[in-house]
């Protein structure tokens, strides 16, 4: 599937939902009450209202905005597996949002008092099932992309008998650190100047994110360890005995893993703070672990050397 067709597959459901929603809204504009019911409680009764124009603009803005976001993400992911997941989630989102928006217009038609509008709860089951089904269909239509080629393992660093060797390097993501720091600062400011509890959540969230904006990657007699530079745990640890071989690869965070952070893909896990050079480790469990870090060739060579020596010793 070409890049254009992948992006189109993501954009079309959002476009269709927007056209259907706006078309239906405008066509039945005069049959809608001045203020329409836009939120419904569990028993189906309306419990929040919005003016007609505001509801129309808000609905269109949400659909168009998310449509643009998912289309851009899908086209940015290119040919890789991330594009497939992006498109599937995007299509599912379009259905899950478009269905209740259109339904809201329908239940508000031809009534005088918006409080009379009703939206039974079973529609939630329909929209969730519909969203999942549409997402699954998009997943099938996209088809699996070409499988990533296994990278050739790096040469093994020869180690003398009794020699102790270790490699360590930090990788800091400024792209993650600055927004996380800003969120924490906003939270701290709110907590100090205004609502104590409203500020607490962004503060904790911002601090937790900035703690993982910098990680230290260590290769030593214990194997591979990836941990935050400030917190001892949680950490990713692969003991030498579980390591088959290591190599240096080029990865695209968005393209190969669909984003940044700790990512899980079928048979592949990664700690991605950026795109580019990464250390790739294959384990005896058949999994590949990828960690973005500079000078990964040295790390891979040392890991191979240590794993070889460990295997010789345990024989």
């Amino acid at each position: 599937m070409t890049g254009f067709r992948r992006s189109a597959l993501t954009a079309v459901p959002f476009l269709a939902a927007t056209v259907a929603y706006a078309g239906l809204f405008l066509w039945s504009y005069d049959r809608l009450p001045e203020r329409i019911a836009t939120r419904f409680s569990a028993d189906g009764a309306a419990d929040d209202y919005m003016s007609r124009a505001a509801a129309l603009w808000l609905g269109c803005a949400v659909l168009v905005g998310l449509g643009l976001l998912f289309t851009v993400l899908t086209s940015a992911a290119g040919k890789s597996t991330g594009a497939r997941l992006n498109a599937a989630v995007g299509v599912g989102t379009a259905v899950t949002l478009g269905y209740p928006l259109i339904l809201t217009v329908l239940v508000n038609r031809d009534i005088q008092d918006p409080a009379a509008a009703e939206l039974p709860l079973w529609h939630v089951a329909v929209l969730l099932t519909g969203g999942v089904a549409a997402g699954a269909l998009a997943w099938r239509l996209m088809g699996a992309g070409p499988h990533p080629e296994p990278s050739p393992p790096a040469p093994s660093l020869p180690l003398a008998e009794g020699e102790a060797a270790a490699w360590s390097r930090t990788v800091v993501s400024r792209a993650l650190l600055f927004p996380a720091g800003a969120v924490a600062a906003v939270g701290a400011f709110t907590a100090v100047s205004g609502n104590r509890w409203a500020g607490l959540l962004p503060l904790v969230l911002g601090l937790a994110c900035s703690a993982f904006a910098g990680v230290r990657v260590t290769v030593d007699r214990r194997g591979l360890t990836v941990a935050s530079t400030v917190l001892p745990r949680p950490r990713l640890a692969l003991p030498l005995g579980s390591i088959v071989d290591a190599g240096s690869v080029q990865v695209s965070a968005m393209g190969d893993f669909g984003g940044w952070g700790y990512r899980i893909r079928p048979g592949r896990r990664g700690v991605l703070l950026r795109s580019g050079e990464a250390l790739s480790v294959r384990t005896s469990g058949g999994r590949e672990y990828v960690v973005t870090v500079d000078d990964s060739t040295t790390a891979a060579a040392l890991l191979n050397g240590l794993a070889d020596r460990h295997a010789r010793k345990s024989d």
Binding site: L159, E163, T218, D220
Partner: protein, 130 residues
């Protein structure tokens, strides 16, 4: 940063650790501003005493190659000419070990260096900056 030490070697472990960092600065593998792992981390990784690692780090600080700051750990100096300094220090280590092999006394080595210093013209230029 790659650390390799051989516990059986006649060279003290702290000196071996310092040599690893010095070599990395000299050949550009370690860049100015890069943070070294803490002494405790290196000690755990290599299975050596933390004081041994600290001795190595202090040696590097005395040579003007790293900065040791409380709380921030060890950072490769960002002062200009760090790589050149590291290469020069390596050369001095080479000079000393060669002199030892030849059986020269410390005084003889110092006189040798002093004589060369005395006859070499003093130049200050952009050469220092690399």
């Amino acid at each position: 940063m790659l650390f390799r030490v051989l516990p059986g070697s006649p060279v003290p472990l702290g000196e071996q650790i310092a040599a690893c960092v010095r070599g990395a600065i000299a050949d550009g593998t370690a860049t100015p501003g890069e943070r070294l792992p803490s002494a405790r981390e290196v000690a755990d990784s290599l299975g050596v005493n933390v004081h041994t690692v600290l001795r190595g780090y202090q040696r590097l600080r005395d040579e003007g190659l790293i900065e040791l700051r409380r709380g921030r750990g060890a950072v490769i100096t960002s002062a200009p000419g760090g790589a050149g300094r590291a290469r020069l220090t390596e050369a001095v280590h080479g000079l000393v070990s060669q002199a030892r092999e030849l059986g020269l006394t410390d005084q003889e080595v110092l006189t040798l260096v002093d004589n060369v210093l005395g006859s070499a013209p003093v130049t200050t230029g952009p050469d220092r900056d690399d």
